[in-house]
């Protein structure tokens, strides 16, 4: 069997008493767009900086095509990186910025000119060679940074929240560009962000980081449909969590009883859970059906309408359960109940057991 393209193997980084990353394991295929998603301080940037060689791990190894890269100093790793902050060299023109990696590699003048032109064309900045970085917008500067990081054809491109300083519209525009560039060049990208929408839009696969560990790795739809932990369920997409007590556990399915006595039956159970312990039922707002009639026993709950917000393509309805829990339901425009609800209406929410997930404590 051939070695995986990039393998992060048990990376652990400790600063004094602080554990930044704790056994991070991940295998990345050549050409893959992998995003590290997680809240700040979850270890995603630390992992990226260890890959870049700016920090040494306390334990673990990183192998590129089977070879450990940890002993190679940063400047010899041949890795590209786009930073969160603007890092163009302020005294050099755009062309000279992009040429810099080639000049330090002592490449010939004509080859440099060709490659710089091609790299600038890749990021759609043809003809900007003589512009100075200070005279460019933030979005343009990050595109130049991208050209500079790709001009020497690195096997891996690291991106550390490169769009966090830009406004929303520009961010979406450049996300689109990054996807196109990934498809055109086929470069393997490791992308760090705390923005789940950005992660879903860009990535082939997403690694969800929390407290220095990877909670789950998967494609966007996998993570959304089948979150392995409470944290992942909470972090990806909106969800409602209803606390209850485990009534029965059979294999990977469980039944929960809520405080008002209703039962949620045959729900996939994640994490540890024993009968009698508390657990939470997770429901996605768009997978919940709101109806005047109760559903089948074990997949339905009586609720009272609390508030409605019309948002164009959908109406978000806030409902209260019998024991006072609050959750939101989304009604697509055209749903028979749209416009016919009033505060205080007594209705039922219904769900398919496969659309719900139970998370035990721990």
């Amino acid at each position: 069997m051939t070695a995986p393209f990039l393998q992060i193997d048990g990376i652990r980084k400790v600063y004094g008493p602080v554990v930044a990353t704790d056994r991070v394991d991940l295998t990345i295929a050549e050409g893959e767009f992998m995003t590290f998603l997680g809240p700040s301080g979850s270890g995603k940037s630390t992992t990226l900086y260890i890959l870049a060689g700016f920090q040494d791990p306390t334990a673990g190894d990183i192998r590129l095509r089977g070879q450990s890269i940890l002993r190679t100093p940063s400047h010899k790793r041949n890795i590209g990186m786009v930073f969160q902050r603007y890092t163009l060299f302020p005294h050099l023109s755009v062309g000279e910025n992009v040429a810099f990696p080639l000049r330090v590699r002592r490449m010939g003048q004509s080859e440099i000119a060709t490659k710089v032109k091609r790299a600038l064309s890749l990021v759609r900045l043809d003809g900007f060679e003589d512009r100075m970085p200070a005279k460019m917008s933030g979005g343009q500067q990050q595109r130049v940074a991208l050209a500079r990081a790709l001009v020497y054809d690195p096997p891996v491109l690291l991106m550390d929240e490169p769009l966090s300083a830009l406004d929303k519209k520009l961010r979406e525009e450049i996300q689109h560009e990054i996807r196109r560039i990934h498809q055109e060049t086929g470069v393997t990208i490791l992308y760090v962000t705390h923005d789940q929408e950005e992660a879903l839009r860009l990535s082939d696969r997403i690694a969800i980081f929390n407290h220095g560990r990877i909670e789950q790795v998967g494609t966007g739809p996998q993570l959304y449909a089948d979150p392995a932990t409470h944290f992942v369920a909470d972090f990806i997409g909106d969800s409602a969590f209803l606390p209850g007590r485990l009534e029965s556990v059979a294999g990977d399915r469980a039944a929960l009883r809520f405080a008002d006595g209703t039962l949620a039956a045959a729900v996939p159970l994640h994490g540890q859970g024993q009968v009698g312990q508390t657990a939470e039922l997770m429901l996605r707002p768009e997978r919940i059906e709101l109806s005047p009639e109760a559903g089948p026993e074990g997949a339905s709950l009586p609720v009272t309408v609390e508030d409605m917000t019309f948002l164009g393509n959908n109406t978000t309805v806030t409902v209260r359960t019998g024991w006072g829990g609050v959750l939101t339901v989304r009604l697509n425009f055209g749903h028979p109940l749209t416009g016919r609800l009033a505060r205080g209406d007594r209705l039922h929410i219904r769900w398919s057991p496969d659309a719900a997930h139970a998370f035990g404590r721990g």
Binding site: H75, R85, Y86, L88, F89, P90, F100, P101, V104
Partner: protein, 266 residues
């Protein structure tokens, strides 16, 4: 804004008047000297009875004045180069280093700024007597370097603090070794700070008089020392002419520094 100058009413004129008086207070003595250097009176009478360039002719005809000016320039340039070089290395350590005791070390580097110069002068004189450095060029350079270095460190550290280390990191990932990144990216990035440090270091040496009096020998003295010793022997308008030239060079360099700063902010 809380204190808007345009909305102060009558106070505006009071403040302007205070500013004008302050400016005159600071500038008048210098303008006075400049006027005297062109005055025809042998006895520095003000206002001058007539105008002449005689004192400048005397100044340029006297090899002792020219020698002192050249000595000053030579020491100033050497101090400038060493001060920027050492200031840069010290700043790199103080700003980018992560070792313990950086704050203490920084304070230590800046002590010559607050220590009375006369104390430094006496201490150096005593030490240099043993080393045989009094009255020598290296003695002058070391003495002036001690007072110039804090200014270089402050200026270069300031420039380095505003230069994002991530830019250096980017250069390293681009394939430049850490030292190559510093030379090709960080140094040009803080060149305004280096330039200011150079000008200030030169100027500090150029018009320094206390240390120079202690270091001077009959054969080796700087322009301020020559002004001082001439002043004690006889009161000639040549001193005013020499002083005017000292001031002129200082003003010129300050202007260059100001132009440079303006270029940076654009």
């Amino acid at each position: 804004m809380l204190l808007d100058f345009d909305k102060l009413g009558a106070w505006k004129w009071v403040l302007s008047a205070i500013c004008a008086v302050m400016a005159l207070f600071l500038l008048l003595p210098i303008l006075f000297i400049v006027a005297l250097s062109f005055g025809s009176s042998r006895w520095l009478i003000f206002p001058p009875p007539g105008w002449t360039l005689k004192w400048y002719e005397d100044l340029f005809a006297d090899p002792r004045w020219i020698g002192a000016a050249l000595t000053s320039a030579k020491i100033g340039v050497i101090v400038m180069v060493l001060s920027v070089a050492l200031g840069l290395l010290a700043s790199l350590a103080l700003v980018r280093g992560t070792f313990r005791g950086r704050a203490v070390l920084r304070a230590f580097f800046l002590t010559p700024m607050i220590l009375p110069v006369i104390i430094v002068a006496v201490a150096l004189y005593a030490a240099f007597l043993r080393l045989g450095l009094n009255g020598t060029l290296p003695g002058f350079v070391i003495a002036h370097l001690i007072v110039a270095l804090p200014f270089a460190i402050i200026t270069i550290s300031g420039a380095l603090e505003t230069f994002d280390p991530a830019i250096e990191d980017a250069a390293i990932l681009c394939g430049a070794s850490p030292w190559e990144a510093r030379f090709r990216v960080t140094l040009p990035g803080i060149r305004h700070g280096l330039f200011s440090a150079a000008i200030f270091s030169f100027l500090i040496s150029w018009d320094e008089v206390v240390l120079a009096i202690f270091m001077a020998s009959p054969s080796l003295q700087t322009l301020p020392v020559k002004v001082w010793t001439t002043l004690r022997q006889d009161l000639t308008p040549v001193i005013a002419a020499a002083s005017t030239l000292l001031v002129a060079l200082t003003v010129l360099l300050m202007l260059v520094a100001a132009v440079f700063r303006k270029g940076k902010s654009e």
